[in-house]
Amino acid sequence: MSTAVLEDKTAAPSGPRSVVNDFSIHVATANGSGSMSSNNILMRSIFQMGIPVSGKNLFPSNIQGLPTWFTIRASREGFIARRRDVGVLICMNPETAHEDVRTVHPGAAVVYEESLNLKTLRDDVTFYPVPFQKLVLELVHDGKLRRLAINMIYVGVAAWLLDIDMEEVRRAVVKQFKGKEKAVEINNRAIQGGYDWAAANLTKSDPFRLERMNATAGKIIIDGNAASAIGAVMAGVGVVAWYPITPSSSLAESIIEYAKKHRRDPVTGNPTCAIVQAEDELAAVGMVLGAGWAGARSMTTTSGPGISLMSEFVGLGYYAEVPGVIVDVQRVGPSTGLPTRTMQGDILSTYFLSHGDTKHILLLPGSVQECYELTIDAFDLAERFQTPVFVMTDLDLGMNNWMADPFPYPEKPIDRGKVIRTEEELKAHISKFKEFARYRDVDGDGIPYRTLPGQIDNMAAAFFTRGSGHTERATYSERPEDYQANMERLARKFETARRHVPRPVLDGSGARVGVLAYGSSDFAVQEARYLLARKGLRTDSLRLRALPLTPETFAFIAAHDRIYVLDQNRDGQMHDILRLEVPDAHVARLRSIRHYDGFPLDAETVVEGIEAGEKN
């Protein structure tokens, strides 16, 4: 198990003692070489054996030819965060082979194209040279197909080496190629060829093995972007305006796919979701606000650079109170940064996005299931609070493969917020509150009522939406009282949001030390707590699922002596937001742990950070 392998690092080379269902497989190939299907098949086969898995793709910001790595982690305990140490390395990329081997942990098994001659590089790992080039010539006759097929051969070799059930592999192949006869047949031949060659020519001498278990029954494998897309489709999104940007593009593209099938009007058969590729992010968010103003559930998907470009429009949405959902699949910034690496780098700047006094609602999914659920919530909150709501995911969640239970059907009916839809509702409103004033706080929660353009043929229903100063009646005003009162109401509205945003997730048993994390950090945090516990350090944990902070968070901080705040960014952005909002007396309890090299967070980093903190 994890710790065992952590120990392995020291005890090199590892003997015959076997490591079962708890190691990771690291495949090094070149971008655009079609290795993605092989890796999926490998991962699915393990998954189908009932073993918890996760798959992470580490790819470059180009389309073809640069190094790519795919890591499959099998974890009996069900830990699916990234882990630093590699059990089995498959070297298919000459460019990186040497460094790949050099950086692998002692005791690892290394499969490689024999012509690369890596054997001599070190003596504390087990080498398995394989003549991939030769084999592919024998196994695949159509030259055009070889470039891809060669990657299937290592699937076969790995299957033999790790005891992967070939039945499952064949099932995975069928699934991967959606039953396309020819493809299935060719790839199966290549895989079988690799398997047979390995059986005939290799002798197993490393500890890593896979054994059937029963921990994945009924589960699905999905990436966070697809999950968010399903959420949007189920939430009844009506207008999607987007501009392509890694790592968010596949979110919009999944919506297109799902909407085609599942968003036709049961009554008329017409599409009930309009999807537009905008000319840029300013236009995308502008369309979102236009649609939100007109009464549709609208959204856009983007990443850091897009968020910056949306900044002016988001201020308009905040101040004029127009709903809209913005999903930020975060990547490494600043600027263009590392488009294909993961980070939680936009938290602070998005929380305060746009000039003037602004604060926004941010939702923070911590799993693919929450990508689904919080995307649905985002639409309810956007319309309830009549403001742009952000869903902050990241590349690790959004583009990597995660195991999850099937998503539950949303039982909660859609909440469209305080909208006066008909002449009758208008009359009722007026008789209750004397008049309809767009920006008047008649309920004391800071949230006013709105009407939609073109719905009610009544002078009293019409109002003017603007980003300039306005009265409660939505008329233009520069009067200091009007301005200040409105800004105070907006602050009040934000306070109301504290009671409506998703609550944090607590795991507490009265420990003195708390671990506070959010988003994709959770997997590593939970694994780290497990490891720390085995080392005798008990911790409680709180996972934020939204900003503004809710009462539970303040209570958690009040209940612990030291709270370690996990940020996947340089500046400890969430730590800073907490510092701004917790009571003075508790400020000193907050400690910041930061991880920001572009790789997903791993348990060891968390363990090291907390252990270091506890030392002094």
């Binding site: 189920m234 995308a284 549709a296």
Partner: protein, 347 residues
């Protein structure tokens, strides 16, 4: 009420409303501003077309011109977007609810300077809306700097000379596939009303580039966007008549000198040619006309290009006319089986 209250005596239109019912707040623009004149023509056109005021979506950006959407049709909702970004907001609104008449008012700075990018893409998509540019060649609201439509060589009061060529919004619109392109002058009320009515009858983006003098910052001698200059130089290429679909057509016109164009809603626009055989349905002629006008520094007004059959953005997307905005939950949230199917694929 509109900037200047229209005659109380105006008869009721086909939906029983008087011109007053199309009025708005009192204008806060400078006395004599061309924009206020255009506001009155918009009011008049909406009234004559019998548009239900609450079905008008008034879109604009930022600028003196963009303020004017508050000065008419105040039974309709209005949206002042941020500077130069009206097109995106209007596009989103049109997707959400195609049943409104989106009437956009922008300025030359709002459209041709900061807004150039969105303008280009709005036209390319052919989003259904009336897009009126109140073109005065300057930034009025920020006190008179040149905009991108200022004519080459024209001068500010301060003496500063503009040494960059003007962007010809009409030429750009035609190049980008716009199906209704007109140029007019706030001083030419009769023509302007007819062109606005035609724009309302058209389906798709209808662009009206209307010269609208800024009396405070660009109405002096050396200006080429002043009332005087425009009056002295305006040359209408047609005399424009408009026959709405709800009035029966009198066919008493001479096909030789007058051209009849049937618009999307069944209305007809009647063009009495003032330029021998200029045909606004011919793109080639339109380009030619504009190029020569620029070269010779002519100020031509009228319906420059029209293509009534062009498909608009919503039909290209295959959207129905029923607004997505107001569909009930049962029609937008897929049933349990649908989610189950999605999940099954992922097993």
């Amino acid at each position: 009420m509109a900037a200047e209250a229209p005659p109380k005596t105006a008869p009721a239109n086909r939906i029983g409303l008087g011109v007053k019912d199309y009025g708005g707040l009192k204008s806060t623009l400078c006395v004599g501003c061309g924009h206020d004149v255009i506001t009155r023509q918009i009011t008049q056109a909406l009234y004559e077309m019998g548009v239900a005021p609450y079905k008008v979506g008034k879109m604009s950006g930022i600028g003196c011109s963009s303020k004017t959407t508050a000065y008419f049709a105040d039974r309709g909702h209005g949206f002042n977007a941020v500077h130069g970004r009206m097109p995106a907001v209007a596009t989103g609104a049109a997707l959400a609810n195609p049943q409104l008449l989106y009437l956009g008012v922008s300025g030359d700075g709002d459209t041709a300077s900061i807004g150039a990018g969105q303008f280009v893409h709005l036209l390319r998509r052919n989003v259904p809306m009336v897009y009126i540019v109140e073109n005065n060649g300057v930034y009025g609201l920020t006190k008179g700097q040149f905009s991108a439509t200022a004519d080459l060589g024209s001068q500010l009061k301060t003496g500063v000379v503009n040494d960059l060529p003007a962007i010809d919004l009409c030429a750009m619109a035609i190049e980008l596939g716009c199906g209704y392109v007109a140029r007019s002058f706030s001083g030419d009320m009769k023509q302007l009303v007819a062109l606005i009515k035609g724009a309302i009858a058209h389906r798709g983006t209808a662009l009206l580039d209307v010269i609208s003098p800024c009396v405070t910052f660009n109405n002096h001698e050396s200006s080429t966007k002043s009332y005087k200059w425009a009056k002295d130089h305006e040359e209408a290429i047609q005399e424009i008549g408009f026959v709405p679909y709800f009035e029966e057509i009198h066919v008493d016109y001479d096909a030789g000198t007058t051209q009849d164009v049937k618009l999307h809603d069944g209305s007809h626009i009647r063009l009495k040619k003032l330029r021998a055989d200029y045909d606004p349905t011919q793109k080639k002629m339109a380009f030619e006309l504009l190029r020569e006008a620029t070269e010779k520094n002519e100020f031509l007004t009228g319906l420059i290009y029209v293509e009534p059959e062009k498909k608009d953005f919503l039909s290209l997307l295959g959207l129905a006319d029923e607004p997505i905005a107001t569909l009930p939950m049962e029609r937008v949230r897929p049933p349990r089986e649908a989610l189950a199917a999605m999940m099954e694929e992922l097993r």
